[in-house]
């Protein structure tokens, strides 16, 4: 069943990625089709996660590959909040290829199948893995918004004659949305880390590389909020967000093997 749901989800995300590419060249039907593909793909992936949740006795996303599957679902879900609006289709050009690739990686690691078990308790996994993933998905979206901000700002600075033929979201809107996303994500990461550290201390376990990288990520994104409060915005804040995203990639893709093991 899970197998049956994975392929349509991947195909729909892939179609969306291609559709957004087509929409960037010739705005219109391709973009609309891509948005529908994202919606349907997300629903299919929701069904996939539901099957995993029903079949497994407990929290089924305790492995890094399974958590990557959940992470993709969160990122696409967050994108869908804005992505249905036409100016934000450009964001899909970044988000959907990433989602498709990560879903393939999740499958390669066995994260889309059923029967994965973890020796951790459900409550701990839901609080720790769930909150950290929500935060990382939020940071990914904030980084995508910041990248779009820098692209739009560059177009304005270059005085591109085509700027109004392919309107993008306004600079102020992108800046505000990125900030709001981080405002929600940082507390989620803080709580997720606190739950994880609490267990680490209680069981006298060692701090691994992923824990350190996650803490550094928390520092960078918290610094983002502090700098925003100090008046940083626009281009400078966007660069900080992109730096934070590099750490998200490291935390999400490079280091997790050791931590989940």
């Amino acid at each position: 069943m899970a197998e049956l749901l994975f392929w349509p989800a991947l195909l729909l995300y892939g179609e969306a990625a291609v559709g957004y590419f087509g929409d960037a060249r010739h705005p219109g039907a391709a973009g609309r089709a891509a948005t529908w593909s994202v919606r349907l793909g997300w629903l299919v992936q929701t069904a996939l996660l539901a099957v995993q949740a029903v079949r497994d006795d407990g929290f089924p996303w305790g492995t890094w590959a399974a958590s990557l599957n959940l992470f993709v679902w969160l990122v696409v879900g967050a994108y869908l909040i804005w992505g249905c609006r036409r100016p934000y289709r450009l964001l899909g050009l970044v988000v959907m290829p990433l989602a498709a690739v990560l879903l393939v990686v999740a499958r390669a690691g066995g994260g889309t199948s059923v029967g994965t078990r973890s020796h951790y308790s459900n409550l701990f996994l839901a609080a720790h893995v769930g909150l950290v993933l929500v935060a990382l998905a939020g940071f990914t979206l904030a980084a995508a918004l910041s990248a779009l901000y820098l692209w739009q700002e560059r177009r304005l600075k270059r005085r591109a004659a085509t700027i109004l033929r392919r309107p993008a979201p306004a600079l102020a809107t992108l800046d505000r949305l990125a900030f709001r996303t981080v405002v929600v994500s940082v507390p989620a990461l803080t709580l997720g880390i606190a739950v994880g550290l609490g267990r680490l201390v209680a069981r006298h376990q060692r701090v691994d590389a992923l824990v350190v990288a996650t803490l550094v990520t928390w520092v960078v994104w918290t610094a983002y909020l502090v700098l925003r409060a100090m008046g940083w915005s626009g281009r400078r804040a966007s660069y900080v967000a992109l730096a934070g995203f590099v750490l998200v990639v490291i935390v999400r893709l490079v280091l997790p093997e050791t931590h989940f093991a």
């Binding site: 219109g28 005085r159 004659a161 309107p167 306004a170």
Partner: protein, 393 residues
């Protein structure tokens, strides 16, 4: 059968001096439409057109021409006259903004709707105008023809939206008050921005700096020979906030190096004209897609109108077939009387199916012939072959 007749003139055929003499306000448009019978009068700054539905197309055309010539005799030589499918296609193109001075301008769709509401439309005009409004909406929904600005002033406002998004609460500092800068300011205001201050040549420089500290958009158009604002002044006054500066003056009012400041976006008249040229080119390429949408909608209308010619013949044919079926069933009553109720229903059903199957293909072919303009010939042939209407004669 009702025919559609169009008589009118537009910016393609008549200069403004002539068009203004046949331009009609809504009350006079309604009055003229009422006088012509089933009619709609579309009068905008670029066109005055009369759409009339009548059995006698020649007579309707003459009356429409006379009505416009009564307003201004000279207009007669600048009138175009179209009928049926050509008239419908023209109206669809008008509603889609494809016949406008600026392709894709959005105002015309509202004007077509207002004219339709104010006219004295009957079944044919109801159909053609509803179809035209649908075509206009479809073109706007499925193409980007009307999305980009077509003038320097609207381009300036659209740029402000690219920086600030919603312009509600944005403050505009207007330096000088030329015609184009006034239009730009009006355009910004129509999108929610507020004109915070208007500076002229007598305004104290310090006051301009004070206002600059609060402004989000600066629109400048003075006849000054030097820069009115330099980069240092802007950097000092804006305190890190984003600022869009529109310089419409020649020679320029605003120091070009302002654009290098972080968060400052300076556009001069050449930049804006390049944007407008680009968006107009985009509109023209979108117009090709829009033309195909409009053409498809016009074909649908034509099929509907053509089917009107054939509908009476099809209805007569089916009625004749049903009559024969019932007569034959009545003749066989003696035999059918021995059948029980369910068997009788089965016989009724079988005979009805035979009639339907026999008539299905001729009906389809008749409709196809109507769409291909052979409808009248085929309708006559059917009437002749099946002796339709002979009983009445």
């Amino acid at each position: 059968m009702m025919r559609l007749v169009l008589v009118g003139t537009s910016h393609h055929h008549a200069p403004v001096e002539l068009r203004e003499r046949v331009a009609l306000d809504p009350a006079r448009s309604t009055e003229l439409a009422t006088r012509l019978g089933e009619a709609v009068c579309l009068s905008t700054c670029n066109r005055t057109e009369l759409y009339v539905a009548a059995e006698d197309a020649d007579d309707a055309e003459q009356r429409a021409v006379a009505a416009l010539a009564a307003l201004e005799p000279e207009v007669e030589r600048a009138l175009y006259r179209l009928r049926d499918q050509a008239a419908a296609l023209h109206l669809f193109r008008v509603a889609a903004g494809l016949d406008s001075l600026v392709p894709g301008e959005g105002e015309i769709l509202g004007q077509v709707r207002a004219a339709y509401d104010a006219g004295t439309a009957g079944p044919l005009l109801h159909r053609v105008f509803r179809h035209a409004l649908h075509a206009g909406r479809k073109v706007r929904a499925q193409t980007a023809i009307g999305e980009s600005p077509a003038s320097v002033s609207s381009a300036a406002a659209a740029l402000a939206e690219q920086v600030f998004g919603d312009l509600d609460g944005c403050d505009i500092l207007l330096i000088g008050a030329g015609k184009v800068s006034g239009q730009a300011a009006r355009n910004l205001r129509s999108r929610g921005a507020r004109i915070a201050f208007v500076a002229d040549s007598k305004t104290d420089r310090r006051r301009i700096e004070d206002e600059l500290a609060r402004a989000d958009v600066v629109v400048s158009s003075t006849s000054s020979t030097g820069y009115v604002l330099d980069a240092a002044t802007v950097e000092r006054a804006r305190r890190g906030r984003q600022l869009l500066l529109i310089d419409l003056a020649v020679p320029r009012d605003l120091d070009p190096s302002i654009h290098d400041l972080d968060g400052c976006y300076l556009y001069d008249i050449d930049d804006l004209e390049a944007i407008v040229a680009e968006t107009l080119a985009g509109r023209r390429s979108e117009a090709e897609r829009a033309e195909s949408i409009v053409s498809a909608e016009a074909d649908k209308f034509h099929e509907w109108q053509a089917s009107l010619e054939i509908v009476p013949a099809i209805a007569s044919l089916r009625a004749r077939a049903e009559e024969i079926r019932e007569q034959e069933l009545a003749k066989a009553e003696a035999m059918l009387g021995r059948l029980d109720e369910s068997q009788r229903r089965a016989v009724e059903s079988i005979t009805a199916q035979i009639v339907n199957k026999l008539l299905h293909l001729p009906t389809v072919r008749l409709k196809q012939a109507a769409a291909a303009a052979d409808g009248v010939i085929y309708a006559e042939a059917v009437r002749h072959l099946f002796g339709l209407g002979e009983e009445e004669r």
